[in-house]
Subunit: 138 residues, 2 copies
């Protein structure tokens, strides 16, 4: 049953067995989209494995190096969908960023003891590459 | 409550209110990953709006022109996660393709009367662009 103490969230599903992973995924999302990346990192396990478009990242320091610079260029965000259960959650969102105005992303996270231990993150690198090239050629 | 007549599926959540959209999203996924794209299209509304990395596609014909050629180059697929309720579902998957061996994607679909009326699809175009350039330069 849905938790009546929680406000309704767009596209959020409540599984019969619980929603602990979804809660962690949403807490992480809310923290980084409000530019509190240090708080966001409190939801990330020290030994996180992140499969990102550019490759595999191992550990919280590598993850911070990947996600931190992105958070700094985010200017807006909106949640497209968030679903999950006690172990796994998927969050899809749209972001506006300084170089790219429409940069959606999707994350599938595995959560253990309130920390994200695995993340598969999908986004299109093409508009970021194009913006970089445009900036370089003036 | 979970539907006991359904086999368990990896990463699949059952919402209190139903899972009609999830069922349609999974039927669509199973059809195209088994190379039955005509069957896949039976789950797609004539007036589908698809927001893809390259832009907005309107209508089933445009959607077929986008997704059909991709389906032809898919050599393998595996479901990473699938969650949803009666109206909306998110499916994340990995595919192997002829030009790119690791090409994950994520879709958020809105379903009405068993047909996908809206799809937001996210994937990284960079490895496909690189494969195309490598093929062109021989």
């Amino acid at each position: 049953m849905p938790d009546r103490n929680q406000p309704p969230r767009p596209g959020t599903s409540v599984a019969g067995g619980g929603r602990a992973a979804l809660d962690t995924a949403l807490a992480y999302y809310r923290a980084w989209t409000s530019h509190d990346f240090d708080k966001a990192m409190t939801y990330v396990a020290e030994d996180i494995i992140c499969q990102a478009p550019a490759g595999r990242l191992e550990g919280a320091a590598a993850f911070r190096g990947f996600m931190g610079p992105f958070v700094q260029i985010v200017t807006s965000s909106s949640l497209i969908a968030a679903f999950g259960d006690d172990e796994k959650a998927v969050v899809m969102y749209d972001t506006g960023t300084v170089p790219v105005k429409d940069a959606p992303g999707a994350e599938c996270v595995t959560v253990r003891d309130g920390k994200i231990t695995h993340m598969r993150i999908i986004f299109d690198r093409v508009p970021f590459d194009e913006a970089r090239r445009a900036a370089a050629t003036g």
